[in-house]
């Protein structure tokens, strides 16, 4: 942990900047000082939300923080307005993960088939050499 740079604990400014631009009208100006302060606030928000979610996880006697713990924590810290959108995002996340898994399985079987073909080709080559 001691090797970690302080910048590792900050959010990348370019990404934060993009989120800010999405939120305000296209031609509006965001001052640099405000952007930096928002990035700092976002880091503190993560810690604040994490601490609240940790409390909820321990109160439920569990060792793994789940998505539901985070959603309950958001209600606790009065950001319940985010919850409906986040529930949609979570559903999307689960679908994406599911399709990814299926794709991986398909890829694996496809790879195996490809390997088999390769093996056969090599065998053909060997036969040719034998003939010589």
């Amino acid at each position: 942990m001691s090797d970690d740079k302080i910048t590792d604990l900050q959010l990348p400014l370019s990404v934060v900047q993009r989120l800010i631009k999405e939120a305000i009208p296209p031609n509006a100006i965001a001052k640099q000082e405000a952007k930096l302060a928002i990035a700092r606030a976002a880091s503190v928000f993560i810690l604040f939300l994490t601490s609240s979610a940790t409390d909820i996880t321990s109160a439920a006697n569990q060792k793994t923080m789940s998505a539901n713990h985070v959603l309950t924590a958001l209600k606790d810290i009065e950001f319940e307005s985010f919850v409906p959108e986040l529930e949609k995002a979570l559903e999307n996340y689960r679908n994406v993960m599911k399709s990814k898994k299926e794709k991986k399985l398909n890829d694996n079987s496809a790879n195996k088939a490809a390997e088999k073909v390769d093996d056969e080709n090599i065998e053909d080559d060997v036969e040719l050499i034998d003939d010589d």
């Binding site: 590792d8 959010l11 990348p12 928002i38 793994t64 958001l74 986040l86 995002a89 994406v96």
Partner: protein, 157 residues
């Protein structure tokens, strides 16, 4: 102007796709999840495990938070999103208590000097208290030393 906007939107999409080796192509979060996990692990009481779903939820919540804060601060003063309006929004909003120390209101040099002076007066007042109390402590210490000295001499006997 409208065409320019669509152009910038296109380039950001392109960026997203070129960056997206796997996840970002399908999920619309753009903050790095690994970085957020690192920040979460700064919490001294952090749970043993963090489900990927929980990591994703915090990531997405943070994105909503950044958008929300920018929008609200901008609505206070539509000339530009400035630090002043941000600080004002943070100080006025009760649920942003946790940011009061992080984004304080700006003050002028005159106000700063005034606060400094007030604090100095306070320090001066409490300073006399401190000196008197430290004298008392010193006296107590001396007494203690005398006591221990007596004990030692008793031991020697």
């Amino acid at each position: 102007m409208a065409t320019e906007d669509t152009k910038t939107a296109d380039t950001s999409d392109d960026k997203r796709q070129s960056l997206g080796n796997s996840k970002s192509r399908y999920l619309d979060n753009i903050l790095p999840m690994a970085r957020i996990k690192k920040i979460m692990k700064m919490d001294p009481n952090i749970t043993d495990n963090i489900a990927n779903e929980a990591n994703y939820m915090i990531c997405t919540a943070t994105e909503y938070f950044i958008r929300y804060l920018s929008r609200e601060a901008y609505n206070l003063d539509k000339k530009a999103l400035s630090y002043q309006s941000l600080a004002q929004y943070v100080q006025d909003e009760e649920k942003l208590d946790f940011l009061h120390q992080i984004i304080p209101n700006k003050i002028t040099v005159r106000q700063y000097k005034k606060i400094l002076k007030e604090n100095k007066d306070k320090v001066f007042d409490s300073g006399s208290d401190v000196s008197s109390s430290s004298e008392e402590e010193a006296e107590e210490e001396q007494e203690d030393e005398e006591m221990s000295g007596e004990e030692e001499s008793e031991d020697e006997k």
